[in-house]
């Protein structure tokens, strides 16, 4: 079983990496880019099991380690 965790800078938190992406893209002649935010994606390979249970467990992982909720939001997806 696989789980994907998306971790993004929380709204209101300045995102220097996202800002750098915007300005670099502008320099490379992509003026259509108005804004960018950069986050993390963590793909987990899990022992097979119950999807609901897995989602619960991965959510615990996020709370305990994978995301820092002072600055980040997260989202968990379980894939078959």
């Amino acid at each position: 079983m696989r789980a994907v965790v998306y971790v993004r800078p929380r709204g209101g938190v300045l995102d220097p990496q996202g800002q750098a992406v915007v300005s670099a893209l502008k320099h490379l002649d992509f003026p259509e880019v108005l804004d960018a935010r950069q986050g993390k994606i963590i793909e987990l390979v899990l022992e097979d099991g119950d999807a609901t249970k897995a989602k619960e467990r991965v959510t615990q992982m996020c709370e305990q380690l994978l995301a820092n909720t002072v600055i980040e939001d997260y989202q968990v997806k379980i894939e078959a």
């Binding site: 209101g12 300045l14 994978l66 820092n68 002072v70 600055i71």
Partner: protein, 220 residues
């Protein structure tokens, strides 16, 4: 006064911290491994700089979940002193012993240079010896020193004198030029600059000396 320096895999200022503590604070310094679950009887826990766990995932994140951390939390709870320098500061915020978080430097580059600091609060066990010399110079060397906290948290911290050190010229985008903070109880301090690298005129400035002298004084 007895002190413990915590060593995580990837800590790299542990030796520097031990030398500075021995020379300027106390001869009784223990090195404590992150997998230990208890601390020796000490007054001060010192979390040194470095790249614990390679700074992978987020700097300080993995170290903050090490077995030794619950003993450190108990120690802090009992009013024991805790100092976290650089990566140690990141560990303390990740462990929620200090508010806020340390994000990637605004310039996105590692920055190593001497910075001028204003000592905003000399009424702490970590900064009392700066009394009468409110400005000092200490080097920084970090990639993730950009302090962030929500505005109301920052307001409260400023109101309570929890900002201990502030940059004169912000090297990393830190909110309100914050370089070092203390918790509301006044016994847990985190700072990005490295006082342990600023104690010997032969190797540079000596702006870190009062930091170690303050700690020595706190228990004499």
């Amino acid at each position: 006064m007895k002190a413990a320096v915590i060593v995580f895999p990837g800590s790299n200022c542990d030796r520097d911290a031990i030398c500075a503590l021995r020379d300027h604070t106390t001869p009784d310094v223990y090195r404590v491994w992150h997998r230990d679950t208890s601390l020796p009887k000490v007054d001060l826990v010192f979390i040194p700089g470095g790249f614990s766990y390679g700074d992978y995932l987020r700097s300080g994140a993995v170290a903050a979940r090490s077995p030794i951390m619950s003993a450190i939390k108990d120690h802090a709870e009992r009013g024991g002193l805790v100092a976290g320098i650089c990566n140690g500061f990141q560990v303390l915020t990740e462990a929620r012993l200090l508010p806020g978080a340390l994000m990637r430097n605004a310039g996105l580059k590692f920055v190593c240079k001497s910075v001028d600091l204003v000592v905003e609060n000399t009424q702490t066990p970590f900064s009392s010896a700066y009394e009468g010399q409110p400005a000092t110079t200490i080097p920084v060397a970090h990639h993730d020193g950009n302090f962030f906290a929500d505005d109301q948290v920052l307001d409260r911290m400023e109101g309570e004198g929890q900002v201990v050190f502030r940059y004169v010229q912000n090297p990393n985008g830190s909110a309100r030029n914050i370089a070092g903070i203390i918790n509301d109880k006044g016994n847990v301090l985190g700072m990005m600059p490295h006082p342990e690298r600023a104690v010997d005129p032969l190797t540079g400035e000596t702006g870190g000396l009062p930091f170690f002298e303050s700690l020595a004084g706190a228990f004499s």
